[in-house]
Symmetry: C2
Subunit: 437 residues, 2 copies
């Protein structure tokens, strides 16, 4: 079969060596960028037309930022490289014999080298039916859904005459005590308090509840213990009810069963563990390490010379033998490394193995509070929060978005207002049980 | 039946005179604002939680601005008035005997005076089935749909190998030569040219088509003839194919029949005439002037002492006897007038009748080009465009949004980039015919 490029670009002088990258997240984009201007054709396949800055997605879900503030069209990011071609399409298989990526629309793209960078999705541990009631936080669509549901619950709470229903509507449950769960719980609590004190004067603060459920004994298990203690104390100070060692055994439209007790809730968010997207299934490698594909020190997938994987999709051992964490900075560094490697594929055997350079791990807990773990030293509180804000603005892709986000943060900090509190009437159907609409 | 307020706010000292306003558009908000701090209770009912700055909605549809940039939560706008209560609910009838507004959820709200400010919706002239394929431009949902469809058509056009299909995908049809149609046609043409020259290098500019269809002999019929001629010339210069005196007789997923000829198109936008929302039906007054409710010089609905209507919902005669146009500035001035009137309802008989103060009529045609008609004098071209931008930024409700929009416009003007080019994978289903997905 002909490469799809040959058909779409019939006038181009093909064939040149063609690297295909599936997924334009942090890893895929870094890899493509490092291949820009190289003597290869690069095809980047993604089912979305934008790269999402996921670390700030929770701010979209809590009405602080707009979707476009944290999303950058892939064509803009990679537009300056004339050897890079973008395809809006969904991959759903790999034919390793004929070296083609199979697309959902029936087409196929031929590769010489393939990079699988499809990222991760939330793991509902066998209860995929919970996803409807407890969205995760991976896409703009999910973030918007959470935002609608949060805001709508307040509107309905003000109109209801039934105290039990009001209490249920004003209860949010966040499942999972990792960074996403902690950030969401903190942000929901602050959003609720600010709305109750300004916009909804008839809603008593005492009716607001945010419950953070963690099955393990500690929140933020990847951080040193004194930072965990600090975060826990801060969350409790801003009104988050943290339930450690508690299991969620069922989730419905009405609420969640936490440690055996049914807690009615207007809003449930899922942040409990991720699994790799289905790419491992394409290679018959499912079942290992939450579906993550094992790769060697040069990011090659076991058993293949021409297939590579990086970021959350794969699992690689660090210098100390432990698997590298599923973090944006790992994906970015791997992408950059792999791009350079693929540009000079002939020298791969003598190339240096990938080395992860830890830039520090961070989580934000609330207004004025964040934690940083740099390995040798740590930081917490107000200074950490300032540093967190600077780092995240810096990491946003382009200058315009940096300015916009900075401006909105400063404004928000000074006024405590949130700008993106929108409920669209066409998005209302799926967010509340029929009885509460 | 008890006023809903009595139940929702049992502790309040009721009854006080209660003014109910249905609709929080320009007119409803102005009316509520003028009643702020007055000795009445005010209930504002809207099915959305935000006021939309519709004059800039076309910029959301063409990926220049984000939804939140032009939408303001009603609770923020009116939050400072403690006598104003906001209800997110959909009205669907009026019981004039018991003086209650009936809500879709089965509840009711009692009024002493009622203001109907429900605005207008697009008139498909008996072909409501066209709405699916040719959305109007009244809500954020519609603007997002148009944006997705526009951007997706480009992605698909790059991937297709069939020249006829590519040409169809790159064809946009705008129905209606009023201000909305002209603004959309100009903005789509400029968006297309900028995307073809930067983001989609394999798409030839010659394949782009924007067709503006107007059934009458002229575009912008409300403007003086020399401004119409200028606008027509400018549109043709930026590549818009303007078809005057042409009827659209059918619209399907595949395209539109224009003057008897089927034109395949990837994107169709409806801007051909509006009609009042169903409020006139609630009062048994349908069938007049496109469903607009006739009101007297004090905005009273004929036959009722306690029901008022303003803005696009109603029709009032101006000083010269001709009906006032359906413009934001009319609604705002009427709202302000009516609020003052309702604050002192006892003096309504001796109050001055409403007088419309024409602030000038404007339309923007493209980058660097707008027209203004101030009655006695007119303005066109670059200066008009600068004035248009200043006026629209000034009219945006709050300071933060003014800054954000100004900043984005300046950035966009300098770089010709559009920041909000997002396609969400969950919104894709309904925007393209199955064959083109």
């Amino acid at each position: 079969m002909m490469n799809v490029l040959e058909k779409a670009y019939p006038a181009r002088a093909l064939p040149r060596r063609c690297v295909v990258i599936i997924g334009a997240g942090f890893g895929g984009l870094a890899c493509a960028g490092a291949l820009g201007h190289a003597e290869v054709d690069v095809v980047v396949i993604d089912r979305r037309n934008h790269n999402l800055f996921q670390p700030l997605l929770y701010q979209v879900a809590t009405a602080a930022l707009s979707p476009a503030d944290i999303a950058e069209p892939i064509r803009r990011t990679l537009g300056r490289y004339r050897n890079i071609h973008i395809m809006l399409a969904e991959a759903d298989g790999i034919d390793t014999q004929t070296k083609r990526v199979m697309l959902k629309d029936g087409n196929a793209v031929a590769y010489d080298q393939l990079v699988i960078a499809t990222g991760s999705e939330y793991n509902y541990f066998g209860h995929d039916e919970w996803q409807r009631f407890a969205p995760g936080l991976k896409t703009l669509h999910e973030a918007r859904r959470i935002r609608h549901r949060l805001l709508l619950a307040f509107e309905k709470a003000e109109q209801t005459k039934d105290p039990a229903e009001r209490r249920a509507l004003l209860t949010s449950i966040v499942v999972g005590g990792g960074p996403t769960g902690v950030e969401m719980a903190g942000a929901i609590s602050e959003l609720g308090r600010s709305m109750a004190s300004r916009d909804f004067r008839t809603i008593p603060l005492s009716d607001l509840r945010v419950i953070l459920v963690e099955a393990g004994p500690r929140i933020l298990s990847a951080f040193p213990e004194h930072l965990q203690t600090y975060a826990l104390g801060y969350l409790e100070k801003i009104g988050v009810d943290v339930r450690l060692g508690a299991q969620v055994s069922d989730i419905t439209m009405e609420g969640a069963v936490i440690a055996g007790e049914m807690v009615p809730a207007g809003n449930i968010v899922w942040g409990a563990g991720v699994k790799a997207s289905p790419a491992s299934r394409w290679l018959g490698l499912e079942g290992k390490a939450n579906g993550r594909i094992p790769v060697d020190s040069k990011l090659r997938v076991e058993g293949y010379e021409d297939i590579f994987s990086l970021g959350d999709t794969s699992v690689q051992s660090g210098d100390n033998g432990a698997p590298l964490p599923a973090l944006a900075q790992v994906a970015k560094q791997q992408g950059h490394y792999l791009g350079k490697l693929l540009a000079k594929i002939d020298t791969i055997e003598i190339a240096k193995p990938f080395h992860f350079n830890n830039r520090g791990n961070t989580a934000v807990i609330g207004r004025n509070a964040a934690i940083f773990d740099f390995g040798r030293w740590t930081l917490k509180g107000y200074l950490a929060w300032i540093l967190w804000a600077i780092v995240h603005v810096y990491l946003l892709v382009n200058f315009e978005k940096r300015m916009l986000v900075t401006l909105q943060w400063i404004w928000r900090y000074l006024t405590r207002q949130r700008g993106a509190r929108l409920i669209d009437e066409n998005d209302r159907e799926d967010v509340l049980p029929a009885a509460r609409r």
